[in-house]
């Protein structure tokens, strides 16, 4: 990737800097654990169209961008992908219907056969197995259709007929035509064995299938003979020292380097795990490494012969990391034109670690800032130095004692253990053979085809390699869901009717897919509740410092930089209590720090392990055998020990318009408050009628022993609890001066409508209220009426969630389910306390009418937006700009982690080991694992987010011209967009090849159930949409 505006590098230093910059863009951008936010794991490729990006990512990073073909075929067999989906996908492919070659099927039909039966090259071992053990060259493949079989049998019989008449004396020629040149027999002997009899016409008539299939195989092998020895497509040229040495010696330099390098990286980047930080971290990794490794006496590993002298020399000469990297690169003989690629390959040996260096270099992260000076260049220099000595050692073992720059040329002269792949005599014939079988093309057609025809067919087969086939399968996989969803929405829109009366309660929730069911249940339980969904920071973005926080944390989406600062302030009369809390917490923390240190130290450890070992039995046994009780006990003790003072948030800012030193303004001014509330209400379309209670439920989660806790919390609040945002919204929403200003803007909130804030724990299904004491008496009465509704919602939610958990009780009793999910939240043996965004698949931006009463299986991000209140589409524009990166980030994080759980995801959680408080390793020495663990993705259906927007397609197109971020996602198809016209309800789906294309929904009759539970309880898999009869409809009907 060379950007034209960068002037050609002048010297080696510029070249190195530039190379580093270019290489760094391919590194994972994952943040340290405590600020984990979902993002596209292939964000570096986002400038490319989705499918091209998958291809590029495979070339660059060796990752798989789709499910394995086998999986798609299973999904096809189980009905998750239908024939109609394949039809639609192939209809859109730019393929002609004219025959590939004379008597061959058309391109489109051929492509379909190739995809449907996964026809492609096989590994030599597979091919061997199929031919020798499966007798694939004697009998038809099991899935070949009858028509094709009959066509081949008939064609072969016609072709053989004249030859069989004069069989006598021509046996050898006939045998050669059928069996070719067998390896260990004469052709006649081989044919006799095939027929199981001597050669006579009757035997041919009896063994039609073996003869026809073998003749076809022989024809294919002969037709493809000229491909033998050609290089295999896509074979990677061995190029770096490591690859070449490994090919010659079977010793991987990484096996030598990584066990030394990884503990160093961990120790250097450590943000508080170790009790003794690396000395000299402030001088950067390279210098700290030089100094530490040159201090005192030790024994160097055998392969680092001569490294000591060089490092001592570097230290005395005061060599910088840059000098060292250049020196090593030169010594390795990496030419100026190779530097960029070489640096890239070097960094990608340990993408997790180099990515973490890169990430912490740019953004140190809110916790665990250390005095370390972190630079990727330092890491590169150290890594290159180790590489150099490892290469030299391996080269010595191969008998090369010359300079390191000659290693590559020396390797080129040595024999390789596995020589470069070339096409064997059967590799090319095999796909042709299978295609011919399925297409009903017999041996005579192949014999008759010219070499040009065969080349055309082979080129077509090569073009439909596994990436192409997986792409087609995947499109069909996604289309199935899209069609089902759009049809369901179309059907729902026709019948859904919102309660005609003004709502009594209005509940605002995060747009999170987990709240799809919460909103459904609220509406299902009571017609008096109206629900809204939007980004969970409720339009108030600020940096927040609670009474327990050591510093501020941004509570807003990561793309937003907060301008304001909000503190939690203790009420004056409760200062003593707060002081006591602080002291207690400090005492506890000191005790636990001391314990942690002592239990790892020598003599104190003896004492501590004897004393606490006896005590530890109690929490150990209790939390494993009765997790729920243990959790409650822990909470009770904590409440007892650490008192909770009453607090308020920063009051309104008066006067100050610009912050003095730090750029954060203390609190919002009344104007800003009014602007925030107005924007929020306008975004949600909540400007006309108001209920008695306007409830903002901040999103939170709880789980124990979970390094990825932040991934489960509110993504719109930087992976933290949305409680403070809800609280602040309620605070400012209830201010009379703010309401005054809102009324001036035309949003009149009646005085008896009150904002209430709460926190909703999606794991334990528990809701806690904040600042209840501030509510007027009337509102408290209303809240008392709302509480049972919310409690019932939590219970039903627990039932719906439990259907996904194997270990949950199978009865439909809501209380058992609630107990079960409560237990999960505090059980420290539970690797999936909740399932997070797993199965998340779509997003609906529009009025609730579209989805009201529709069972969407907790798979939908619901964003409230009212197009009728948005004449100039400004609201839609900012909603899309704010929500689409978040939604796409979630969906693509899950997508990538699901399709390639080992390279993109972080594999199974079980061996994970929290390292440097920044990431997790497998065991004690591996690369840092990025992405999501399989426990999070195992039931996910990897699809791009299906975004459904209630707007005309022209409006969307117009917005795409202005919002570059959204346009990149949409135009490159990283999300799939469908526009629903606000009035006509016509649908247009976007496809980069065709633009917005009208979609006519198939009229479907949605299953109608009285309660969601009737549809979902007891079923484990993803469910199709259904219609729930909402209470107001029942009233209408009766």
């Amino acid at each position: 990737m060379i950007t034209p505006d960068v002037a050609p590098a002048r010297g080696p230093r510029d070249r190195l800097r530039q190379a580093l910059e270019h290489a760094a863009q391919w590194l994972p951008i994952q943040a340290p654990l405590e600020v984990f936010v979902h993002n596209n794991l292939l964000a570096a490729f986002q400038h490319l169209p989705f499918h091209q990006a998958m291809l590029a990512a495979r070339r660059k990073l060796g990752v798989r961008g789709y499910f394995p073909e086998e999986r798609y075929r299973q999904e096809h067999a189980s009905g998750r992908i239908g024939e109609a989906d394949l039809d639609a996908v192939f209809a859109d492919e730019p393929l002609s219907d004219s025959p590939l070659a004379p008597h061959f099927p058309g391109e489109r039909a051929a492509a379909r056969i190739i995809t449907r039966h996964s026809i492609g090259t096989e590994t030599p071992a597979d091919l061997h197995w199929k031919i020798v053990e499966d007798q694939a060259t004697t009998y038809f493949a099991a899935d070949v259709g009858d028509d094709a079989r009959n066509a081949i049998l008939a064609a072969t019989a016609d072709w053989l007929q004249p030859q069989l008449v004069h069989l006598q004396g021509a046996e050898d020629a006939v045998a050669r035509a059928i069996v070719g040149r067998p390896a260990f027999r004469t052709p006649v002997g081989e044919l006799t064995a095939l027929l199981g009899d001597r050669l006579h016409a009757a035997a041919f008539a009896e063994r039609r299938e073996p003869v026809a299939v073998r003749a076809l195989w022989t024809a294919c092998v002969e037709a493809c003979a000229h491909y033998t020895g050609m290089p295999v497509l896509g074979a990677r040229k061995l190029w770096t020292h490591r690859e070449l040495l490994r090919a010659c010696s079977d010793v991987d330099a990484n096996d030598l380097v990584h066990p030394v390098l990884i503990p160093l990286c961990a120790a250097f980047l450590d943000r508080g795990q170790s009790q003794w930080a690396m000395p000299d971290r402030a001088d950067g990794f390279f210098l700290a490494w030089l100094r530490v490794k040159q201090a005192g006496l030790s024994i160097r590993p055998g392969w680092m012969l001569g490294a000591d002298r060089r490092m001592r020399d570097w230290l005395t000469r005061g060599v910088t990391a840059e000098d060292a990297a250049l020196e090593v690169l030169a010594e390795l003989g990496v030419g100026p034109d190779e530097v960029e690629t070489y640096v890239e390959r070097t960094l990608l040996q340990l993408p997790g670690w180099s990515g973490m260096f890169h990430r912490l270099e740019r953004a140190p992260g809110p916790i665990g800032r250390s005095r370390a000076k972190i630079e990727l260049l330092d890491f590169l220099a150290v890594r290159l130095t180790y590489d150099l000595y490892a290469f030299r050692d391996i080269a010595r073992q191969l008998g090369h004692h010359g300079p390191a720059s000659a290693i590559r040329s020396a390797c080129a002269r040595l024999p390789q253990i596995a020589p470069p792949a070339v096409r064997g005599p059967h590799d090319t014939a095999w796909p042709l053979f299978l295609l011919a079988q399925h297409a009903g093309v017999g041996a005579p057609t192949i014999h008759a085809a010219s070499r040009g025809d065969i080349d055309t067919v082979i080129a077509f087969l090569d073009r439909h390699d596994d990436m192409t086939r997986m792409r087609l399968w995947h499109e069909a996989y996604e289309r199935h869901y899209r069609v089902e969803l759009l049809d369901a929405i179309a059907a729902n829109v026709r019948v859904a009717s919102l309660p005609p009366v003004a709502p009594r309660f209005q509940v605002m929730l995060c747009l999170d897919d987990r709240f799809e069911s919460s909103r459904r249940y609220l509406e299902e339980i009571s017609p008096e509740v109206e629900t809204y969904g939007g980004p969970g920071f409720f339009g108030v973005a600020f940096a927040y410092q609670g009474i327990d926080d050591p510093r501020t944390f941004p509570l807003c989406p990561v793309i937003v930089t907060p301008q304001h600062r909000i503190d939690e302030v203790v009420l004056t009369q409760q200062f003593d209590l707060a002081e006591l809390r602080k002291q207690r917490r400090q005492q506890l923390a000191r005790a636990s720090a001391l314990f942690g240190r002592a239990s790892r130290s020598l003599w104190l450890g003896l004492l501590v392990s004897i004393v606490t070992g006896m005590v530890a039995v109690v929490p150990l046994l209790l939390s494993i055998f009765a997790p729920r009780t243990a959790g409650r006990l822990r909470q009770a003790i904590r409440r007892k020990l650490v008192p909770e003072p009453r607090t308020r948030l920063t009051p309104a800012r008066i006067g100050l318009t610009r912050a003095p030193d730090d750029d954060l303004l203390p609190g919002f001014s009344v104007d800003e408050m009014a602007a925030r509330v107005a924007a929020l209400l306008e975004n949600l379309g909540m400007t006309r009628r108001f209920g008695r209670l306007i409830v903002a439920l901040g999103h939170d989660t709880s789980s124990v022993n979970n390094p990825l806790l932040a991934a489960y919390s509110c993504a719109a609040c930087g992976g933290r609890s949305g409680g403070p945002n809800a609280r602040y919204l309620a605070h400012i929403g209830n201010r009379p001066d703010v309401r005054q200003k809102l009324a001036e803007r035309g949003i009149v909130i009646p005085p008896d409508s009150v904002f209430v804030a709460g926190v909703y724990d999606t794991c334990a299904e528990a809701i806690t209220w904040i600042d209840e004491d501030l509510l007027p008496a009337s509102a408290r009465g209303e809240l008392a009426d709302l509480e049972p509704i919310l409690a019932e919602m939590c219970r039903r939610n627990a039932v719906e969630r439990s259907r996904r958990f194997d270990s949950a009780p199978k009865q439909r009793a809501a209380d058992t389910a609630l107990k079960h999910v409560e237990g999960r939240a505090v059980d420290f043996s539970e690797p999936r306390a909740e399932l997070g965004h797993a199965t998340c698949a779509c997003s609906i931006i529009g009025r609730r009418e579209l989805s009201y009463g529709l069972f969407l299986d907790r798979r939908c991000l619901l964003v409230s937006y009212d197009p009728t209140q948005d004449p100039d589409h400004k609201i839609l524009e900012r909603t899309l700009a704010a929500t689409s990166p978040v939604g796409a980030g979630i969906a693509l994080d899950y997508y990538c982690s699901s399709v390639d759980p080992e390279k993109l995801g972080s594999g199974t959680k079980l061996p994970h080991n929290v390292t440097a408080l920044a990431g997790v390793m497998n065991g004690s020495s591996s690369d840092l694992r990025t992405g999501l663990p399989t426990q999070a993705t195992e039931m996910h259906e990897p699809m791009r987010l299906e975004v459904i927007v209630e707007a005309a397609p022209e409006v969307l197109q117009d917005i795409l011209t202005r919002q570059a971020g959204v346009a990149e996602l949409v135009l490159n198809e990283w999300v799939r967009v469908t526009a629903i016209h606000p009035e006509t309800r016509e649908m247009w789906t976007f496809d980069a090849r065709f633009g917005f294309r009208k979609y006519t929904p198939t009229p479907v009759e949605l299953p109608l159930v009285p309660r969601s539970e009737d549809w979902c309880a007891g079923r484990r898999d993803c469910l199709k949409p259904a219609r729930i009869v909402t209470p107001n409809e029942v009233k209408h009907a009766s």
Partner: protein, 473 residues
């Protein structure tokens, strides 16, 4: 009557888990059994094992030590394999402890390993481990202990390699296996030595016969052999390098093996053979020195470890080192108490390693720290030179591994390579080229020689070379 019943009950402690493992293995025959079934069978077995251990505790409290003999497994000329168990306070306490920890592990793992492809395998191995551990504890003779010891070893290795689809766990498991095998030689030599020296390996008889043979060199040799075996299992200097690498398995197995039971088995062996070991001052000195060196190295390594599991693993090794010292000093009760409390604590710490981030965040918040170095700024008062030097040693774990690698592993490997080349040369003299390892591609399709199967089509390019050496001879 009662003691007989209790003894019989106690003796069954290793039988239940072994039986359950076999049952689950048979359940695998018709197809993969459901997780629920496996969990039930396992739970029943470990509860029964706990009940057996309770019998042992009762027996010990009511009747004191019992030498329980079930006769011989087999007899040959001048040799018999006695099935004998020694029930005393040490056995009862350890057996009960093992049963509780295994039970806890099973309860933990049923949830933790849910939906894991290796679910059944994990429980079979854990059950085998439980059986081995109980047998090791109950064994009344060195041979029986050796059987339990091997069970523990092999299940440990297989659980380190639990995720065998990746290379690292397999390499680590190989490392553990090699260390175990080398050190197991000690136990084997010890048993054989006992036979030659005292004519028996039954602990009770050995201890009874010791006074007549005090101060003999044979006793020293046997004792050192046993200490060597214990050092391997308990990851002591200089053979402890495998411990941090063994963290590749699921957290639950790391906790039970390397935080809790398996790593303490060496100490148990020392306690079991205490009367034998305390005969010799040399052995006691070796125990103290090995233990102290390990304790210091491991404690310092634990201080600098930047990953949660290694930190706990090193800390474990250091306390186990202190237990070696205690055994060397003859503080057996202290060692036993230390063993059990320490094993419990580390077990808990291991299971909680995944909370490291939340714990650290909470701690930093409560202490008002914004800078992680504040907590980790140790040894600041020491001059930078020595501080760096000590830090380096701690981080490199005092370079024990590179030293072993350079002066032991590499020479052995070089020797074997030289022998391999020599063999190649000798074969070449006979005009035969060695096939494996030369990189010569194997034929794509081997000929199918069964008469009725059609011969595969083989292209001329891949036909066996007509000029193959056989043809020439």
């Amino acid at each position: 009557m009662l003691p007989d019943l209790l003894s019989a009950g106690f003796a069954l402690a290793p039988v239940w888990p072994a039986l359950a493992a076999v049952v689950i293995a048979f359940l695998l025959l018709p197809g993969r059994p459901s997780e629920r079934v496996v969990a039930r069978v396992t739970a029943v077995a470990v509860w029964l094992s706990l009940a057996s251990a309770a019998c042992g505790v009762l027996l010990c409290l009511s009747h004191g030590p019992v030498d329980y003999r079930l006769g011989n497994w087999y007899e040959a000329a001048e040799y018999s394999f006695p099935l004998v168990m020694l029930f005393d306070g040490l056995t009862a306490a350890m057996s009960a402890f093992v049963a509780v920890i295994v039970l806890t592990t099973v309860k933990f793992s049923v949830t933790y390993l849910h939906r894991e492809p290796g679910f059944v395998r994990f429980f079979v191995l854990t059950l085998f481990f439980a059986a081995g551990m109980q047998l090791l504890v109950l064994a009344g003779s060195a041979e029986l202990l050796f059987i339990g010891w091997e069970f523990v070893g092999i299940s440990s290795v297989l659980l380190v390699a639990f995720f065998h689809e990746r290379a690292m766990p397999v390499q680590a498991a190989l490392r553990v296996l090699v260390t175990y095998r080398v050190c197991d030689i000690g136990l084997l030599l010890g048993a054989v030595g006992l036979h030659h020296w005292l004519g028996t390996t039954v602990w009770a008889d050995v201890f009874a016969g010791l006074p007549q043979h005090a101060g003999e060199t044979a006793g020293l040799a046997v004792g050192l052999a046993l200490v060597f075996a214990a050092m391997g299992k308990s990851a002591q200097f200089p053979v402890g390098g495998w411990l941090p690498r063994a963290m590749e398995g699921p957290t639950a197995s790391s906790a039970v093996f390397y935080g809790s039971l398996s790593v303490h088995a060496g100490v148990y062996l020392l306690l079991r053979a205490a009367p034998l070991l305390e005969q010799s001052l040399v052995i006691r000195a070796v125990l103290v020195v090995v233990g102290l060196v390990t304790a210091v190295i491991a404690a310092l390594s634990s201080q600098v470890s930047a990953d949660a599991k290694s930190a706990v693993a090193h800390a474990t090794a250091s306390q186990v080192g202190l237990m070696f010292v205690e055994c060397g000093l003859g503080l057996y009760t202290l060692a036993l108490v230390h063993l059990i409390t320490h094993a419990t604590l580390r077990y808990y710490q291991f299971l909680r390693t995944l909370s490291a981030v939340q714990d650290a965040m909470w701690q930093q918040a409560a202490l008002g720290r914004t800078d992680s170095d504040e907590a980790a700024a140790r040894w600041e008062e020491v001059a930078p030179g020595p501080r760096r030097a000590l830090y380096r040693l701690a981080l490199e774990r005092f370079a024990v591994e590179p030293a072993l690698d350079r002066w032991l592993t590499r020479p052995i490997m070089n020797l074997s390579r030289a022998l391999d080349r020599l063999e190649g040369g000798l074969l070449a003299l006979h005009a035969r080229t060695p096939e494996a390892g030369t990189g010569a591609p194997l034929p794509l399709m081997a000929p199918d020689l069964s008469p009725d199967a059609p011969a595969p089509v083989l292209s001329p390019a891949l036909r066996p070379d007509a000029g193959a050496p056989e043809a020439r001879v």
